[in-house]
């Protein structure tokens, strides 16, 4: 009888244990699978790095065929993989047609055999996004910028957009042959946004189709010929889009043909001065804060309260007489505290950028947008768009820093030129963490306090308690 009771208890006990283990495994399995479908997390990162932007949700929502995102791994689990899975998981949660799968390229070579050629250049945690027989590659080397920003969401969204019908981004062509200085960072941002970026030699090549392109003249140091100016004008007449970046430091050449064209045909004057504002300097840089003016381009970032910076700039003035078919809007201007030295030589001879007598008083326009209507012989109306910047640095280093709205202004200006359509402007996200400034002395002081003094003090306290109790 006693043995029977013992046996029953033992059986019950074992059943209980097995049941508990199964329940724990089952509940975890359910939660893990639920996590693929619904968001079971709260994002505490400052820049909401794991929350999808509206543009990403929109693109993900438009995927209507099964699309698989393969994460290429070698079986190693680390923070980057977790971060990538976290971001991608959001796409999967938004549209069940998007599935995420980790592929161990060492153990499952067959799964990626079709991409053998691409694999040679890809790093660990790169992505293959595939839909039926089409695929796109995202190289993990492009995930993060050197100054701590994540482009994962933007890259994936841009690639997913290629599977969505009706999304077509413009071609952006940088002119060459005039000593232009093109920011590599800018090119990277434009490419990541889905634009096709190339070059055009305006002397020997024809301008592209006006409606699908943007031509950028970035910091030219050699003037454009009359023929080139005529081609440029014809392109704008057909509704073309042109951005011109001047700069008083990097390209201070006078460029009479280009400057005269802007003045006579667009009513815009590129001054050769140098705008500076000591009271609006951005910490540890040569950038100054600018004021945003209300316009279609600036409106989306106006409410974000993000700042916009500009480097030393040529002020952009208005010609006394402006063609009637041209409309000009200021996008960015300096603060009232800004002043302008006559030119870079004056600044050098003064030996300082401090305000001096004879300097012109601010504010000054440093970024303007203009549009020009033109009716052709057939009665068709074309609107050409022009953006002129007095500082090439407006769209340079600060565009990679999401604390500033420079990138948004660049992408919005391109979007405005295309009638507000076609671009996917998913922002880069600031990665968690920042930097500290610790001197060597401080480092060694904390090392001694934290690693030696504190643990030793606790240990001594323990020994004292032990000894006291022993000899009590």
């Amino acid at each position: 009888m006693k043995n029977q009771k013992k046996f029953r208890y033992s059986l019950n006990s074992k059943a209980f244990i097995v049941g508990a283990v199964i329940i724990v495994l089952l509940l975890n399995a359910i939660l893990i699978s639920l996590n693929d479908k619904i968001a079971l997390e709260i994002d505490f990162t400052e820049d909401k790095i794991y929350a999808l932007a509206d543009e990403s949700k929109e693109i993900a929502g438009q995927i209507d065929e099964p699309t698989e995102i393969l994460i290429l791994t070698s079986g190693v689990d680390n923070e980057i993989l977790s971060m990538v899975k976290n971001v991608l998981g959001n796409f999967g949660q938004h549209n069940s047609k998007i599935t995420i799968r980790e592929v161990n390229v060492v153990k499952e070579p067959a799964a990626v055999q079709a991409y053998a050629k691409e694999l040679e250049t890809l790093s660990q945690f790169s992505l293959i996004i595939r839909q039926s027989d089409r695929y796109e590659i995202v190289n993990s080397q492009d995930y993060f910028s050197q100054n701590g920003f994540s482009y994962i969401e933007r890259l994936v969204t841009t690639k997913l957009a290629t599977f969505v019908d009706g999304i077509h981004n413009a071609t952006i062509l940088f002119t060459k042959g005039h000593g232009e200085q093109v920011s590599e960072g800018n090119v990277g941002i434009l490419e990541m946004t889905g634009y096709e970026v190339g070059q055009i030699d305006t002397l020997t090549e024809d301008f592209p189709a006006a409606e699908d392109s943007v031509v950028i003249i970035s910091c030219p140091q050699v003037d454009f010929s009359v023929e080139e100016i005529d081609k440029l004008d014809a392109y704008l007449d057909l509704g073309g889009n042109v951005q011109i970046y001047f700069d008083p430091v990097y390209c201070s050449t006078e460029l009479p043909n280009l400057v005269n064209y802007l003045s006579e045909d667009w009513g815009l004057i590129r001054n050769t001065d140098i705008v500076w504002d000591m009271s609006q300097m951005i910490e540890n840089s040569n950038y100054m804060l600018a004021q945003m003016s209300d316009h279609e381009i600036t409106a989306p970032v106006y409410d974000s309260q993000k700042r916009v910076g500009y480097g030393p700039a040529n002020s952009i003035g208005r010609a006394p007489e402006k063609p009637a078919n041209v409309t000009i809007h200021t996008l960015l201007k300096s603060y009232d505290s800004a002043y302008a030295k006559a030119d870079i030589q004056t600044a050098i001879s003064q030996g300082s950028m401090e305000k001096a007598s004879g300097d012109a008083e601010g504010p000054f326009d440093v970024l303007v947008a203009a549009s020009r209507e033109n009716e052709n012989v057939a009665g068709e109306l074309h609107v050409g768009h022009l953006v002129v910047s007095g500082s090439a640095l407006i769209f340079d280093a600060l565009t990679a820093d999401t604390r500033f709205a420079n990138e948004d202004i660049l992408l919005n200006s391109i979007s405005w030129m295309q009638g507000g359509e076609s671009s996917i402007t998913v922002r880069a996200k600031m990665l968690p963490g920042g930097s500290m400034s610790v001197s060597k002395t401080q480092f060694w002081t904390w090392l001694v306090i934290l690693v030696v003094v504190v643990p030793l003090a606790i240990l001594v306290a323990g020994i004292l308690v032990f000894v006291k109790r022993r000899y009590k």
Binding site: A20, V24, L31, P432, G433, F443, L450, V451, I463
Partner: protein, 244 residues
Amino acid sequence: MKAIYKRELRAYFKTPVGYIFLSVFIFFAALMFVFINMGAQQTSMSSFFSNVGLIFVFVIPVLTMRLFSEERKSKTDQLLLTAPVRVSDIVFGKFLAATTVLLIGVAATMLFVPIMELYGTPAVAETLVGYLGLFLLGVFFVALGMFMSSVTESQVIAAVSTLGILMALWLLSGMSLQFSEILAGSLHFLGAGLDWLLDFISINARLYDFTLGTLNFVPVFYFLSLAGLFVFLTIRVIERRHWK
């Protein structure tokens, strides 16, 4: 339960165990903080959290080894088991006491955040999520260590076996075995199951979730459910002995 909890907590600080645990843990955690964060001049503590988990593997067995094995060896467990308290209260009391000591250790390392504030601007919310993950990992380890202590009367065996299991879990997390590839054909289903299990016990991956600055309820539930399971198993072990 309150009485057991107080008794156990007092025991940690009347013997050198609590002090040794705290000083060793703080020593290694501080060493990592100083070199990973202050040395590299970065305020992100994600690398710190990933590495501190490894310190737990070594120090938590010290914290849990005596919980039941000492009572069993000195036969005081018989007194405890015949006292008018439920077995679950005994187990929970001891578990909470060990968890409190763990919490003191983790909380002490939270002083690193104001130190970073002196020289930079750490993201406090993200860091606190990391600390939560670290604490939950510790809670799971404590529960497992307590279970191991309940099955043996030797403190050394309890400590070594806990260390062995925790080390195995830690190492398995970093392994890239793919059973579904190894076990082909009709055994593929078994392979897939083993892959899932291997992925399931990957504690590193769960900890990484916290180091990213997101509070994901899946790893929270994972650590709590496993801790709960081992507390339950400990109760069963003690009850079984009680019936015997």
